[in-house]
Symmetry: C2
Subunit: 639 residues, 2 copies
């Protein structure tokens, strides 16, 4: 995937930076490391490669860590040019690094570090890991090299006894604080407090704002945080200035969107901004609060990616970071359904990238995950939670007695994914097809309620409670036939007596069903109402949750915390997927977009001038109200 | 084992510092991390304890890492006093630390961190780990707090174009270099090179000395290294001064030795010095070269410990560091016999400490190790090496075709150890007794050669080659009956045609056999000749290897390297064990020295004035040539 560059043990870059990411959470003066088991990257690695040199050459090895390079067994320190003689030449690089990622960079005309090298952790050897972000010798893979942009407040006003600065957009970065000379010299302490907020209400609430730096002196640069507003109590406009440096991982946007409807355009732009902010090395949930890599949140980000970035590496980094090392004892993020979404995402990823090598690399970890899932099956093949497992599905009133229907539907899709990938790799996949058939039969036998024309949450409780969740998954994952799907739509999804989906997390799945089943009116209205509603409230990024019935300041609260809601949350970006997939109608027909379809629905958005990426290029869709022009700059792919 | 103090996930202190230790090797300007898989300590831990408070109290939590303390679910930052109300009180401490050991220290009158706390890595909960070395809040378990002593050269002389400084003893520590003002001001570069040596020959060899600091300027403090000599080329006596700061982990010496024979006293003293230098947080092989934790070397250190330190913690730390986490895929130090010696050492350790709790804590890891060993058995129950496994036994001409006899003898002892420990813990131990009997029968059927009256190395090669090694192990581990033992002694050990043991590593086992079988003359002569020989050459510590036939400078070479030999090597300290065990005759008769024996052999050493530790006290042995006085300060142990 890359030419020359830094090399490491495959997957370890993701484990190292994934842990760094999951340790970033900060809340009211304490750190909040994610509350699950995080696998370690290897500290001690040997890299090696063999060459047959036609003439003498030389190499220089740079490494992050301590160790040495050995040329045909002779040891040399790092950082010096080493002569390699003509003939057979084995290069080994031993790197130990307790406090970072052991990695190496080999310079040379003939010999250099690339994807042909192998990494050995002294028990297993695999092709090295690399990244297009780390191809320069000066860029140590232990660090994240952000693009930066200086951001100044767009307004400052005096609120209570202080100054509220509005940067007009969400910033994720550092802040440099400077005192005006006259004012500073007149202060005894020479210190201020800087309070942060995604909303003005949060920044000006010195007790409940999430972040606050105290004892700040002129010239201080405050740590990387996400905010739109800063509030500095005890001063007046002109006395203190703040300059933010917004930081982001460079991932190019390959899509553009314009239609007749300005609100729709604004929704797409704000979704883009939201998604870019939540896409660093990994897909995270949001930039202010958790900043953790959640498998469920990432799953939805995988859907948006091909309609905005078409960046394969961020998908792969996230998938690797979530999964950890081969041996697995705990579900991803402790959540059983998140483990299954992780598995399911790999088929999705393959449809985007067509990268069989990645599936190959991952397959033993997929099998390991299946092993964990299968260790929890009951006599009917239903998966059940163990102690410390979280059966999540959604924040909703689901009957979780015993085996839970929605989990079984996910498990079905896991079998299908394993069969799909196993077939791709020409390994034994029939066992998963058999498991699929057995589970599907039992799913209908135990959970399908003919009277209600739908799946019930639990058969053990006797309550025959119906929620939308399992039924939505069943349609999305093609478990139901046409008659059953029709029944679910009529008797569950269109039935006002069935509890509505309230979380934007599950709203994504519901809208995907509406799109998949051709109910584009429903998708269109939802985008206009739900996302448009946030736009109407001046949102510059999309929120974790939106309830039109709430006003200031309760609309900022969540999880029992007055500012617990994240106002820049990755799953808020789903309009990019919904518009691209269902209204612009672009999708791969074969993995890796070897063939693809662009089938815009012209009755919703008026005129169009849009670009949607496909693997290796893009599709341009223009519609002037009369003529539709669809062009692609992509060459035909050859096998 | 400790009162108040720092707490961590059990075993993780050892994994963290063990890796630090195994990454310490330095050789001619490059680092040399140990070439095996090293398990990681956990980065993310929850500590917890429950109290029933009779009245309100308060606590303050200090931690190495980021996170928070939660009192009945409410979160607080570290480092501040927190009020705890009367009644049920659950304290949780969440600590994440990517770059060090997550650990915590709780202060309070009623609530404080002690061995009653639990540690949770989000998959398993166990009682916390602690150490008597880390009971002060100011002593962060991420650091080693050495005792220090300033050491000055005892002589300086001009050699070639420089100054050779002899510190008169082995130093393991830093060096502060100062230039005399007059001289320094006259130099253009103001830099010197400092070369190190365990011998004068090494220090003055600027090409082949192991360590060398270049571009040293006045005032520099050079990193911790082991040496006796320093050599500074390009200067004269008086121009540069060096002050060393010797550093050591404080482990009290509880034994003393004096006899009529001054050479024996000197041997004991030099052995003590050698052993103390090689005993840090862990038993390492030597202080100059590897500095690694080798299971075979440590095994012999466990024998010396009760006769010098009687320090339980260093045994336990070493055992835990060697073993790693529960799952095991690679043999300790990659060596199959070292894995088995690790297992066997636990029975040894239990005989010293009587600490059933430690065996309990370790038992699942012992079973894991047995699982690895058993995965490599053939149809006869013989263990065979896998690819990448090292069947070591000794640097000697052993016939290693197929199943190797000495490995099977060790495996027998592993079964015995498992049965012993399983019985102690009242778990299923019979399976190991059965495995023992089966393997023993096959060992004799395949490896015992009646014609030679001894075990042969390999039955598959057809060579019927006999070496001492398997036969020595067989006697040490009570595999042979009296007749067989007699036969091995006569036809192998006393047989000059059987290749002599040449390594001090295996010489230990041979001498232990001589001691065990009552051949004290042989032990006595060996101590006088082998260790006395090194004394005669001015050794201030005992060497990795000694061959009386070698002179300067070849006596410093090993492994094909002119200064490859370690001149301060832990296994050189075995006279302390041999003298204490066989000549002073002290040993436990029951685990933990509940009862013990002191049965000095008076015909070798003349008068005696010795102290030998026993658990909880010591035995004093005085002999004036006529009267023997044996006293102990130890109270009777109660159950």
């Amino acid at each position: 995937m890359c030419g020359k560059g830094w090399i490491w043990y495959p997957g370890d870059f993701e484990l190292y930076h994934g842990m760094l990411q999951n340790f970033q959470r900060e809340e009211r003066s304490y750190g909040w490391p994610a509350y699950w088991k995080m696998d370690d990257w290897r500290k001690n690695v040997r890299f090696y490669n063999n060459y047959q040199l036609k003439e003498a050459t030389r190499i220089c090895v740079t490494a992050a860590g301590q160790g040495y390079a050995a040329v045909n067994g002779k040891k040399f320190p790092f950082g010096r040019w080493i002569d390699c003689q003509e003939g057979a030449c084995t290069i080994e690089i031993f790197v130990g690094n307790m406090f970072g990622l052991p990695c190496a960079f080999v310079e040379g005309d003939v010999i250099y570090s690339d994807s042909g090298w192998m990494a050995d952790d002294f028990t297993e050897c695999h092709p090295v890991g690399m990244s297009s972000l780390y191809q320069d010798k000066e860029k140590d893979p232990n660090h994240v090299y952000y693009e930066t942009e200086e951001v100044l407040p767009v307004s400052e006003e005096e609120v209570h006894d202080g100054v509220l600065m509005d940067f007009g957009r969400m910033v994720n970065g550092t802040v440099r604080v400077m005192f005006a000379d006259v004012w500073a010299s007149g202060r005894s302490a020479g210190e201020v407090t800087v309070a942060y907020g995604e909303s003005a209400a949060e920044a000006t609430d010195l007790t409940w704002c999430y972040y606050k730096s105290e004892h700040v002196i002129s010239g201080d640069v405050l740590r990387r945080r996400a905010f739109r507003y800063l509030y500095i109590p005890g001063c007046r406009v002109g006395q203190v200035s703040c300059v933010a440096t917004h930081q982001w991982v460079p991932i190019p946007v390959k899509a553009s969107f314009w239609c007749d409807d300005e609100k729709m355009n604004r929704i797409w732009d704000v979704a883009k901004e939201t998604y870019r902010l939540c896409s660093g090395l990994f897909f995270i949930d949001g930039i202010k609060r958790d900043r953790w890599i959640w498998s469920g949140d990432a799953y939805q980000s995988y859907f948006v990616n091909p309609y905005l970035f078409m960046d394969e590496e961020i998908d792969k980094r996230t998938i690797l970071a979530l999964r950890g090392n081969q041996d697995i004892v705990q579900h991803i993020n402790t959540i059983v359904d998140y483990s299954m979404l992780w598995l399911i995402s790999i088929e999705k990823e393959y449809w985007m990238t067509g990268d069989k090598g990645f599936v190959q690399m991952l397959y033993s970890k997929m099998e390991g995950m299946m092993g964990l899932l299968e260790s929890q099956l009951d006599e009917h093949g239903f998966i059940r939670g163990r102690e410390r497992d979280w059966i999540f599905i959604d924040w909703s009133d689901i009957d979780k007695t015993g085996a839970v229907c929605a989990e079984q539907v996910l498990l079905l899709k896991c079998y299908e994914t394993m069969a799909f990938c196993g077939k791709l790799l020409a390994v034994d996949y029939q066992k998963y097809e058999q498991a699929y058939e057995k589970l599907k039969a039992n799913l209908f036998a135990f959970f399908w309620n003919e009277e209600k024309g739908a799946f019930i949450d639990s058969y053990e409780s006797g309550k025959n409670h119906v929620t939308r969740h399992a039924n939505i998954f069943a349609i999305l994952f093609d478990v139901t036939d046409k008659v059953q799907t029709r029944s679910i739509i009529d008797r569950v999804l269109l039935n006002p007596e069935i509890t509505q989906i309230t979380t934007p997390y599950f709203k994504f799945f519901e809208l995907d069903v509406w799109g998949k089943t051709g109910h584009l009116d429903k998708v269109y209205d939802a985008i206009r109402d739900y996302w448009g509603g946030m736009i109407d409230r001046g949102a510059v990024t999309f929120w974790e949750d939106y309830d039109a019935a709430q006003g200031e300041p309760e609309q900022y609260g969540m999880y029992g915390d007055p500012f617990g809601k994240s106002l820049c949350h990755a799953w808020g970006a789903s309009p990019i997927y919904l518009l691209g997939r269902y209204f612009l109608g672009v999708r791969p027909l074969e993995p890796g977009y070897k063939t693809f379809e662009a089938k815009p629905q012209l009755s919703y958005l008026g005129k169009l001038d849009c670009v949607v990426p496909v693997k290796g290029g893009s599709v341009s869709i223009k519609y002037d109200g009369e003529h539709l022009e669809i062009t692609s700059d992509r060459d035909g792919l050859t096998e």
